[in-house]
Symmetry: C2
Subunit: 165 residues, 2 copies
C-alpha cells in the first residue's frame, strides 16, 4: 500500500464559546443544554450560509485545535477502561476532527447564534451541514461499551486528560 | 481578521464500494440500503479499532476526493433551486468532508464490513466515530428547504452535477 497524499483544509470560521479550558467542559452537546455561543464565518464564505436559517439543528465539523498528540488507545471520560480511539469520541484522534450537532437559533450576516455548544472557544470551524432526521437519526441497537454509560453524559464533565500535549 | 493556518490531515484508510462514478449513486445512506462494502485501515491505525465491533452504527468522515471545485451556491439533487452550500450536503464544499452514518456488520483485522454505503470507491477515510443515539439523534423541528424533499431521498440518484471538475 502506498502512502496516500495528505489532505489540506482551510478553516471557514471560528467558534466562540464560554469554554477557555478543557477541564470542566461538557463532553457532548447533550451535556451542554443552554450553552450559547456563535460561529463567525470568514467573509469569503458568508454567501454559503443562504437558506441555512430554515434548519433548527446543524452539524458542525471542527478541528480540535488543542487536542493532545493522537493515541490509539484512550480511557474516555465516560469509562474507566482503555478503548480503541475509533470506538470513542475523544479528541486525541489521528485526524482530530470534532463533530457536534447543535441548535441554530438565528443567522445574522457572518454570525450564527448557536445553543448546546461543547467545544473550546477559538475552535477552527471546518464545515457546516444541515441536520436532517431522515439522513442522520438512527436507532442504534448496539452501542458497545457506551451502553452502560451514555445516560450519564449530561452529568459528566471533562477533566485534564485530553488537555494540551 | 488574520488568515488562520491551514490544517493537514492524513487518511487513516480507504473505502471500497460498488460505485466507480458519481452519476447514478445513492445520495445518502438512506438511499443505499443494502449497499455493502468495506473500510480498509492502514496498518498503523488498526489498534484504534478495538471495541468498535460493539456498535451497530458508526459515523464515517471522509474526503470527497473527486468533488468539483468549491461553490458557495449549488442546486442540490433534491431541489431545483440554488441553495447556500452550507444548507446542503453537496460535495462541492469549501472543505469537502463527507459524513455518512453506516451500519457496521463486522470487524476483521484492518477491515470493517459495512452496509448502506453512499460514497465512491477509493474514497480516503479520515475518521471513524461510534454512533450513539443519545449524542447524535435529534428531532429537528425545522429542516428548511429539505422539508418538502427529504422523503424522496431514497428514490433520487446522483447525476453528473457534482462529478469531477
Amino acid at each position: 500500500m502506498t502512502t496516500p497524499p495528505p489532505i489540506l483544509y482551510h478553516p471557514i470560521g471560528v467558534l466562540h464559546t464560554p469554554f477557555n479550558e478543557p477541564a470542566g467542559m461538557p463532553i457532548q452537546p447533550s451535556g451542554a443544554r443552554g450553552v450559547c455561543g456563535t460561529a463567525e464565518l470568514y467573509p469569503e464564505f458568508v454567501a454559503g450560509l443562504r437558506d441555512l436559517a430554515g434548519f433548527s439543528h446543524i452539524i458542525l465539523l471542527y478541528h480540535f485545535h488543542r487536542a493532545p498528540a493522537p493515541r490509539l488507545s484512550v480511557t474516555p471520560f465516560l469509562d474507566t477502561e482503555a478503548r480503541g480511539i475509533f470506538a470513542t469520541r475523544a479528541p486525541a484522534r489521528p485526524n482530530p476532527i470534532g463533530l457536534s450537532i447543535v441548535r441554530l437559533l438565528r443567522c445574522e450576516g457572518a454570525t450564527l447564534y448557536l445553543e448546546n455548544l461543547d467545544m473550546l472557544d477559538g475552535t477552527p470551524l471546518l464545515d457546516i451541514k444541515p441536520y436532517v432526521s431522515a439522513f442522520d437519526s438512527f436507532v442504534a441497537e448496539r452501542t458497545g461499551w457506551l451502553e452502560a454509560a451514555e445516560g450519564r453524559v449530561a452529568q459528566i464533565r471533562a477533566d485534564e486528560r485530553f488537555g494540551e500535549s
